[in-house]
Symmetry: C2
Subunit: 240 residues, 2 copies
């Protein structure tokens, strides 16, 4: 009896963190609410207190929970959640996110990506321009229908990020990119759009190479505009 669960990934504490993390972001446990005490919930999940506490530390590190002796462990207010964390994002995707979730994600992306391109145009080194060129070439050569389509696209955007030489930009961009990629992989309209987006990518690359900050920003903005139908797709297929 008790809790039956699907796939236990690598480690148990990892699985517990994912299980509880998903419960939290999906609202099973609401902010302010207290999680049952460690021994109780440990029995419910059939894990030792040790493993459970290691999971708690993970969740606490991401701002989701807060533990105090005598009081217990409770869910922190949403505004303290580290939403731009890869794991939290993946837990959100598993939880039938609200439309607002996707809208917000696209809003951030529309702010962030052009800004990254602008910064890259200002800060990039010659080496980084070369890498960017390689990444663009890989996109041109990618065979439709293969995984290459996604990986080369991802590679290009990561090359832009690195060219910003701003570690915060890089950190932020990595999580946003991978989140978006996870979404795009499920979208069907990708194949056709891919060819069409090549000129846009080239324009971004060239603007960065020429240190044309305003141009890079603008070109990236246009690139994003074209892929915006993915938002519609997400809204249709992911929200309940």
């Amino acid at each position: 009896m008790g809790s039956q669960v699907k796939n236990r990934p690598q480690s148990i504490h990892g699985w517990v963190a994912a299980e509880l993390g998903t419960r939290i972001v999906s609202g099973v446990y609401a902010p302010g609410e207290y999680i049952p005490n460690e021994t109780t919930i440990g029995e419910e999940l059939n894990v030792s207190r040790t493993a459970l506490r290691e999971a708690f530390k993970i969740l606490a590190a991401k701002g989701l929970i807060e533990s105090r002796p005598k009081l217990g462990t409770r869910i922190r207010p949403r505004k303290y959640w580290n939403m731009l964390d890869a794991e939290i994002l993946s837990w959100c995707f598993e939880s039938k996110p609200s439309p607002q979730f996707f809208i917000s994600l696209f809003e951030i992306r529309e702010i962030f990506e052009p800004a990254a391109a602008e910064l890259a145009a200002k800060n990039r080194t010659e080496d980084q321009v070369a890498k960017l060129s390689d990444a663009y070439q890989a996109m041109e050569n990618a065979e439709l229908g293969t995984e290459e389509v996604f990986s080369s696209d991802l590679e290009f955007h990561l090359a832009v990020l690195e060219a910003t030489n701003n570690e915060f930009m890089i950190s932020l961009g990595m999580t946003i990119q991978t989140a978006m990629m996870g979404l795009f992989r499920l979208s069907s309209s990708i194949e056709e759009e891919y060819k069409d987006s090549l000129p846009d990518h080239r324009a971004v690359y060239e603007a960065i190479a020429q240190q044309d900050a305003a141009g890079a920003k603008q070109q990236m903005f246009e690139l994003l505009a074209d892929s915006k139908e993915n938002l519609d797709y997400a809204l249709k297929h992911f929200v309940e």
Copy 2:
């Protein structure tokens, strides 16, 4: 004998996480390098394996380290570090950050704060306008030389964030704000600037209230420009 250390905060695992986190961001352990195995470093720090492992989970959750059986625990490449995490930032501040660190932080701020104001002008509700108004009033009434100067300023910027109704913006903005505040508290030039910045704050508030997105963005940009000498201060006093 052994390791002598200053202040052990609340919990031991919390202290260990801070201690090792600081070592990592300051480069004592370099990316790719392996940390001594759990029993060894546990003895060095005089903590049980239990507490040490809980600290490891915290660091792993923030992307700093990665553990594997037989191999051990090693520092992950910098690009996987969750740099926009409040704790990681505080560990960075304690470690004589490079000039590039501060420059990057200010770059990020200059991108996201105006974007947040713009978004707030678009998405804000009437309730949020009221809160923003209150926050501005508190700034006007704040007595110079008191903690109120900082707290009301912080309150205002947080109110802008909340008005974006974008949970990613809120999460991102909170960490940036608190990091900057920690810096400004140490700057001497704050007092004079404070009065001067009131009109700018008011302009931001009014633009948001009037749903003037472009205006809000522009006004916030100007507000930041005025406080930019704090960067000079940081560069002078924090870098070695």
